[in-house]
């Protein structure tokens, strides 16, 4: 059951996305089962599109929301293997994949997450991850070569 503070927070999070240039993402309320999620499509500099899905955990904002790439699926490495097979990977900056095989972007580890981080920043990091991913596809180098570690930026 969501508290009024949580519902207000999510409503404000949606407004921040709309007003800070992230209007391709929205926070949604699924009234049938009273759950929340945020989603949208990120477009890379090369024009590729990535569908992002963020189920909001019941403990939000204290609990960290996971962020998955649902399309393309499966998301592949430069060598053609599935990124989701890496699991929690520093080289690819990923956390445990979704049961559907969607890659989970490591935006913040649990050990670094806190309630003061807004969803806009999470989607910003997703954009950074996508650009690094495309550099990985172009060069074969790991994502860690293109983005700083979470410990450095958190």
């Amino acid at each position: 059951m969501w508290s009024s503070e949580q519902r207000s927070r999510l409503a404000v999070e949606h407004q921040i996305l709309q007003r800070e240039g992230f209007s391709q993402f929205s926070v949604y309320h699924h009234s049938a089962d009273d759950t929340y999620y945020a989603s949208g499509v990120a477009t890379s500099n090369s024009g590729s599109m990535y569908s992002l899905y963020m189920p909001i955990p019941s403990g939000f904002p204290t609990a960290r929301p996971p962020l998955y790439i649902t399309k393309p699926s499966p998301l592949l490495r430069a060598d053609g293997s599935r990124i989701s097979d890496s699991g929690v990977s520093h080289a690819m900056h990923t956390l445990s994949p979704h049961e559907n095989g969607w890659v989970q972007i490591c935006h913040w580890r649990d050990a670094r997450w806190h309630a003061g981080i807004v969803l806009q920043k999470v989607f910003l990091k997703a954009h950074v991850w996508i650009e690094a991913y495309e550099q990985h596809l172009a060069t074969g180098h790991s994502l860690a070569d293109f983005v700083r570690t979470m410990a450095d930026v958190a």
């Binding site: 929205s26 309320h29 929690v88 670094r112 806190h114 309630a115 410990a151």
Partner: protein
């Protein structure tokens, strides 16, 4: 004089009996240095080149300890039947017999006996303890005071414990004897009814709980999902014989060893979102919440629950390899909360000890493992001791206490301690302890002030602040679109 001298043998026997009863006798024993033997002489005799032998020198007698409270409970049956059965844990080959009712951990060897009042032993194989009326003072631990005010001494009549030629009987009046040791400095009657919720019972958390138990805190709620492992033993108060047990149970028993009247409830659950309701139910009944977990998400969850319940909390932790440590005290709405701390000092909030595989797993990647690097118990305990003291201050805050003279000293929200100037940290260049009188050095506590964040998402108005920033009215926000 030789030992074949009948007079000397009689004197020795009398002296030995006097020593056994701890009372002056007609003769005393001395060690004659010139003859290199023990002889008995008249009590008033002065013997050159001799050492007097006291009862302490000759303390080769066993001790049998009875529970005064238990005897008082059994008094109606004892006065009616003349005998009640009882049992003992036998320690050190029978040198010490401790009544089972006093034992949290029983000995592997149990001895059975009977307590007698105006009656004769019924079974020769039992240890028989006979209560005999005396005029002894009530402060003597060898004296039992019955419910009707009469005083008794105990005498073991039969089935002497192995290895002891005589057994002293003492009466443990646990609660008053423990309270006596604390009462001059602490308000034991206040602490007896206070509840400490201790979440995370590693080395530091377990130590804090035990220190509070020793001080007389009477009610504990213990939360931890781990079991004691062999590797824990070098730091944890629990020992090798406890390996494999849930830490909540290990610490519960250690508390009961120190404060047998304590009321201890245990929950072998993790501090995580799955258990937030269960933890929240504990927070609301706690007078102080002590967080000894190592990871941020558990601390922030507990912080959220404590702020919501307006419960004071203390968050303690060691830095990596315990080169130092910190304590954050949160008085909701009056001081910064843990979320304020994380937002204000992210580096300090992220410097944590990696003391277990679980801790390492929280921050490791499959392709970049994190080493387990626990610090020494020696380096964790200063932090735990300070945390226990701050907890006591919170528990006596609303009462008159000698501890309250410390209020001016401990009014900062955050406390920092360094065990060593760890290379690679901001403290690496601190001056040596011996060369500094006014600069920050190791082995000193520093109380550090920082402000509460009015826009904190936990203890402030985060939503209102954000809404104001964007010119929104939080009460008039449009509804979110219904998703698929």
């Amino acid at each position: 004089m030789t030992t074949s001298d009948p007079n000397q043998r009689q004197l020795i026997r009398e002296a030995m009996q006097a020593i056994a009863t701890r009372k002056p006798g007609r003769s005393k024993l001395v060690y004659d240095k010139t003859k290199r033997t023990i002889v008995a002489v008249a009590e008033g005799a002065q013997i050159a080149q001799a050492l007097n032998i006291t009862a302490d020198d000759a303390d080769m007698f066993g001790v049998l300890t009875l529970s005064s409270e238990w005897i008082q409970e059994q008094w109606p049956a004892l006065t009616r039947d003349g005998v009640v059965p009882l049992s003992f844990s036998s320690w050190d080959d029978g040198d010490a017999l401790t009544q089972s009712e006093l034992c949290v951990h029983a000995s592997a060897s149990v001895v059975y006996g009977e307590l007698l009042l105006d009656a004769q032993p019924t079974q020769p194989q039992l240890v028989a303890i006979i209560l005999e009326k005396t005029d002894g003072t009530t402060s003597d631990q060898g004296v039992f005071v019955s419910p009707d005010g009469a005083t008794y001494r105990g005498r073991v009549q039969s089935a002497q414990p192995q290895g002891a030629s005589k057994t002293d009987v003492v009466f443990a009046d646990v609660e008053p004897q423990l309270a006596l040791r604390r009462s001059s400095i602490l308000e034991t009657t206040i602490l007896k009814n206070k509840t400490a919720l201790c979440v995370g019972l590693g080395t530091g958390g377990a130590h804090v709980a035990l220190e509070l138990a020793k001080c007389g805190v009477g009610r504990f709620l213990l939360v931890d999902c781990d079991r004691l492992s062999v590797g824990n033993v070098v730091r944890h108060p629990g020992g090798i014989s406890q390996v494999g047990r849930a830490k909540v149970n290990v610490v519960r028993d250690l508390i009961m060893e120190k404060n047998p009247k304590a009321h201890v409830e245990v929950r072998a659950i993790a501090l995580d979102q799955d258990n937030r309701d269960a933890i929240a139910n504990l927070v609301v009944v706690a007078d102080i919440v002590i967080c000894g977990t190592d990871n941020r998400q558990s601390k922030l969850l507990l912080n959220e629950l404590c702020v919501a319940a307006n419960a004071p909390a203390l968050y303690g932790g060691a830095f990596r390899r315990a080169y130092g440590g910190q304590i954050l005290r949160v008085r909701p709405k009056h001081s910064p909360c843990h979320q304020c701390f994380v937002a204000t000092m992210p580096d300090e909030a992220s410097d944590v000890e990696v003391s277990s595989e679980t801790d390492a797993g929280e921050i490791a990647y499959s392709d970049r493992p994190v080493a387990v690097e626990p610090g020494l118990s020696l380096d964790v305990l200063p932090i735990a001791n300070m945390l226990a003291k701050l907890a006591l201050l919170e528990l006596v805050a609303d009462s008159s206490s000698t501890l309250n003279t410390l209020r001016g000293d401990f009014d900062a929200p955050w406390y920092l301690w360094l065990n060593r100037p760890e290379p690679g940290t901001q403290y690496a260049d601190w001056p040596p302890l011996s060369e500094s009188s006014d600069e920050m050095t190791i082995h000193r506590w520093y109380g550090i002030y920082f402000d509460r964040d009015d826009a904190c998402p936990v203890c402030g108005d985060f939503v209102g602040s954000l809404a104001a920033h964007y010119g929104l009215d939080p009460a008039q926000l449009p509804s979110l679109e219904d998703g698929e």
